[in-house]
Amino acid sequence: MAEQTVPADPPESSPPAGPAPGTGHDRTPGSGTGRTPGSGVGGAAVAADGPAAKPDAAVVRDALGVGIAVGLSGFAFGVTAAGSGLSLLQTCALSLLVFTGASQFALVGALAAGGNPFTAAAGAFFLGIRNAFYGLRLSQLLALPRAVRPFAAHWVIDETTAVALAQPTRRAVRLGFTVTGLTLYVLWNLTTFLGAIGAEAIGDTNAWGLDAAGPAVFLALLAPMLRTAAERAVAGLAVLLGLGFLPLLPAGVPVLVAALAAPAVLWFKGRTSGRGTADAVDTRTAIPGAGRPGSDSAGTAPRGEGAEGAHKGRGEDSTDGGQRSVEEGR
């Protein structure tokens, strides 16, 4: 599997006119020589074999759409964090320094439930591990100088990955990543701040139903990930484990126990069906949920009844617009 997806990338970076003279690598963002925005020259040459150069304006538009929609939901985080008892400074520090929405919500939720700092952080950390896999793919597509990577790393999240992977050329990948990252980072932190202030102003955030924001965010992130039977089984088992152990174990620990649903289902699948199906799953999940947030904000992908409905399993598999665009991008 790995061998199949990796080689798929290099050709992806070459489509525009660049390759012949061997200057492909130097097409840094902004060096718009002759064939910039969809200029017919470079674009026409590769029109036949798939995605051609994409106008910068289109890339920026996509990136801004995702960045703004998701960035605004920092408001929900700010409110949730403040409502959970975190100070304004702590809330803003999370958005500035962690900058991974799901991990932030998880940490705040675990702390609010009375978890000790280390189990709470462990849950958030495990949730953030997927970013390493985004980084693997992005490092190939962005081809950043090593010195720049420590700075780019902070922006390696669901949304930037989804946008970057959907782009046809390296120039567009870099532009999409940068614009999404910048927009999202600025907005997410701004709205976190406003949300935290707002939460203090309105007092009892629960009366306003704001304690439902966290679970709703998780559900929106989760829904597009429930594509295969294995994914639905993991979700269903995790719900059972998480709720079942909730009254029995210290806060924060049940979620970690629930994470075991993933290896458990893999092990069970391995026993019942051969390797063939396991590999089939692998293809579909090669980029863990990469199409997800982009499609969330674009309002295309989400489906599924949510965690509890996960067992019911719905057959439809192919309607994930975001995922498809990611596939095309590769």
Binding site: F99, A102, G135, G209, A213, L219, V255, P288, G304
Partner: protein, 102 residues
């Protein structure tokens, strides 16, 4: 204080993980088993967190207005509503039910 510890540990952990992805040679993390687990663990965590934050209060299981809010979010997702609409519908329905004394 313990909150700051949690924030610091999370911030460092999450950043290191992001950086590792950009720096580590692809082969190290591209092994099929590792990748499958990495794809499935977030599913498990998100599902468990969704359920816990909907159906628990201070360590015990409860069903309250949040369940209706989450159902509203699920409906919005099925209808392919934008991200913010999904979250807003959960909040509004939960608040509405509480306002009605639910």
């Amino acid at each position: 204080m313990s909150v700051w510890i949690a924030i610091a540990v999370t911030a460092v952990g999450c950043y290191v993980v992001k950086l590792v992805g950009l720096l580590v040679p692809a082969e190290a993390l591209e092994r099929p088993l590792v990748r499958r687990l990495a794809a499935l663990v977030p599913v498990a965590l998100l599902a468990a967190l969704t359920a816990q934050q909907t159906f628990s209060t201070a360590g015990s299981l409860v069903v309250d207005a949040r369940a209706a809010g989450l159902a509203a979010a699920a409906v919005a997702l099925v209808l392919r509503a934008p991200f913010l609409v999904v979250v807003a519908s959960a909040v509004l329905v939960t608040a509405g039910i509480r306002a009605l004394g639910g």
